[in-house]
Symmetry: C2
Subunit: 427 residues, 2 copies
């Protein structure tokens, strides 16, 4: 009975697991550096949770099922609804600001393609309860601080930043009704993924005035806040939103990551739920999907029955990131150790097997990682095994142990050896 | 719209997440100490995988669903079938012995009860390809090494060890046909969980001879290998199996965990797939479900279309363990830090905010965990926040910074302060 893994999922053999740990451990470390604390929720929730945030269209993108009690459940495709549920449940007792991170496993019932699998890991950070754009700066900084720690430079990646508030003000100023915005955002978000003609056609279907469509197309290519005023007249709302964007860039510069950041009016994010700053980090060449994306959302907690409370956050998946790191030569399988041992205990003959077992167990009890050969083998072969297992030192139980109670300790990188009384080593 | 978590799942708020990390990080550390390397598989597999190992009865205990391609899938209730599938797929290239560990998230569609949830975490270690009972000793040792590291003593927990091979030999010797064994094991496994009369009745239904049933009942209460010979006559197969058990205990004593271990013929394990040594670790009082269980299985790889290859392993869930640790006072929520910061940066007035942001970012870039107040607040309040976030040191940007370019560094536990030139601190 040969059964395969389900398409779009991954088996993490020790080498692949080392890569996953490298990425996930880095996410955790960056989160902690920036003062975020970890949370997690269940792998499945009521299906309805995802419908509340993303509408009924989401259902077919989910692995959903019924439990024996007839409840409609779904494997989580994202953790933000869980975050909203959890924060709402303890809203009155949680210390503020809420700075939380998570590294959930997520599943989406999509057709697998490059950088997009049916099961993946995603880093999430969120700051809840801080109105100030400083919280957006913290989220973007934390992201970039992580990516910088991987040795990705501003020549490799760019954080493209915009503002939904600014976009909304500008669009309303050129005659788009507020209630039409939600249906226009997904079109604007599609721009980089479709041909210019198709984009224009989609806008023309949605907007009556051809002149307005042309203005929007010009706006989507704006890469400096100052340019906006040359395309449309600015009202107070737009000016305020522009000031907020300027302050964000000033903070990011203060934080030392300004060189990674660029204003880009074309960053819209598809989901209706964003309300302020939005951003995506892309590879500079622009060949891959976004490495991460996020922004300000003001209504999620209240959508889930909680109070009105502002929040800002981002999500970064492991798949696109891994592709980028490999392309840049920053992740090579042979540079990530699958295993490291402090000690490998070799024994010169089968008669010393018991002592080898004892020494191994004693070293493990002291907290050292330690292993030994399960079969008596020639010393040379055991030393090879020690090397294959990444042992820093090899302890040899041989003649000297029987005669003088001494163990030979061999440094595996230098090859130097010294004899140490067994009692001393195990003390 | 108020939505709850699904019953039998857990929300991991930062304090609960700290407990989970404490347990899971301990599992990982113990695995590495003993030379195991990490692997993982997908959260869902083909439903059929679980039927192969556990029969069709398993289906209703699984969260199973159909994807858009009509494939029957299930969230994993255990990782051993995945292990078998993965090892089979790379059988010819994997270095031997295969010593793998995993800490999977698992789900079972059961009714939630004490120590048994619908979603949980389980530590798995397996040694594949080693016939010698030494591999069983390594698995049991690793388990106990972990539990010992939590300060559980032999007065708290016992590893109850038996042998399926020995049991089979003895049962066949008293007239049970080999093909009947598979249906008797689950009954024997139930003994501790049901009244003595119910146990006897179940045996009587399965076995014609009342005398045989009485012999089995006596055997199930044997706690020393030597006693078996007083109840039944021993054939060669039984004697060989007894020698293996004796060698296992000798190895465990050599490894320094003998005091935790006890022979117990009553340990059978329900599943048909065990073929040699079986064991469970229980709380000494015997009030809880098993903390962990495992044993030797010879046919799993071949059941999944691979070669015949022996293996031994164990699984330990997080739920019973957490209950036991709390009962023993070895896990108190307030002893696990939710967060630790190397530095908290306070600023004496709003005019120094920018400098505080700069200092924070610079420290983070150096790899320190660091945070600051998002709102200007009185210094005393900021120091309180520093304390609440578990900061080791608080850096104060105040008058001295403006006047002399110096930052005040306050040790949060001793309260001592010193002034250091900002340039020096950030160098």
């Amino acid at each position: 009975m040969k059964i395969q893994a389900v398409k779009g999922t991954r088996d993490f053999y020790p080498p692949q697991m080392a890569v996953r740990n490298f990425i996930v451990d880095g996410w955790k470390a960056a989160s902690k550096r920036c003062g975020f604390v970890q949370y997690d929720g269940p792998i499945f929730e009521y299906l309805q949770m995802y419908q509340v945030k993303s509408g009924d269209e989401i259902v077919e993108q989910l692995f959903n099922f019924e439990d024996r009690g007839g409840r409609r459940l779904a494997i989580r495709p994202e953790i933000t609804p869980t975050l909203a549920r959890m924060v709402n449940q303890q809203i009155s007792s949680l210390p503020r600001p809420i700075k939380w991170f998570s590294v959930p496993r997520l599943c989406r019932a999509e057709r697998p393609q490059k950088g997009r699998l049916r099961e993946f890991f995603q880093w999430n950070i969120d700051v809840i309860g801080v109105e100030d754009v400083l919280a957006d700066a913290e989220v973007i900084y934390c992201c970039l601080d992580y990516l910088r720690s991987l040795r990705l430079t501003s020549a490799d990646i760019t954080a493209r930043i915009s503002s939904r508030r600014l976009l909304a003000a500008v669009l309303m100023n050129i005659g788009i009704a507020e209630e039409r915005l939600a249906s226009i955002y997904p079109i604007l978000d599609k721009k980089p993924k479709i041909p210019a003609e198709a984009f224009e056609e989609m806008l023309n279907k949605e907007i009556d005035s051809a002149a307005t469509v042309q203005t929007i197309i010009r706006l989507m290519n704006v890469h400096a806040v100052e340019e906006i005023g040359r395309i449309v007249e600015l009202n107070d709302a737009a000016r305020q939103a522009m000031q907020e964007v300027s302050r964000l860039f000033a903070l990011l510069t203060l934080m030392g990551v300004g060189e990674y950041c660029r204003f880009d009016m074309g960053i819209v994010r598809g989901l209706a739920y964003y309300t302020g700053i939005v951003f995506e980090v892309h590879d500079a060449v622009g060949e891959l999907r976004a490495i991460c994306g996020g922004g300000r959302y003001d209504n999620l907690l209240s959508d889930f029955g909680g109070p009105h409370m502002t929040a800002t956050g981002m999500g970064m998946g492991d798949c696109v990131l891994e592709i980028l790191l490999r392309e840049k030569g920053l992740l090579k399988d042979d540079t990530l150790p699958i295993q490291r041992l402090d000690y490998f205990v070799a024994y010169a003959d089968a008669g010393l097997f018991d002592r080898a077992v004892q020494v191994t167990a004693a070293l493990r009890e002291k907290g050292f990682s330690c292993d030994f050969s399960y079969k008596p083998a020639a010393l040379g072969k055991q030393l090879k095994q020690a090397d294959a297992l990444g042992a820093a030192k090899c302890i040899i139980a041989g003649q000297e142990l029987t005669a003088e109670g001494k163990l030979v300790v061999r440094d595996m990188s230098s090859g130097t050896q010294e004899s140490i009384p067994a009692a001393q080593l195990l003390k």
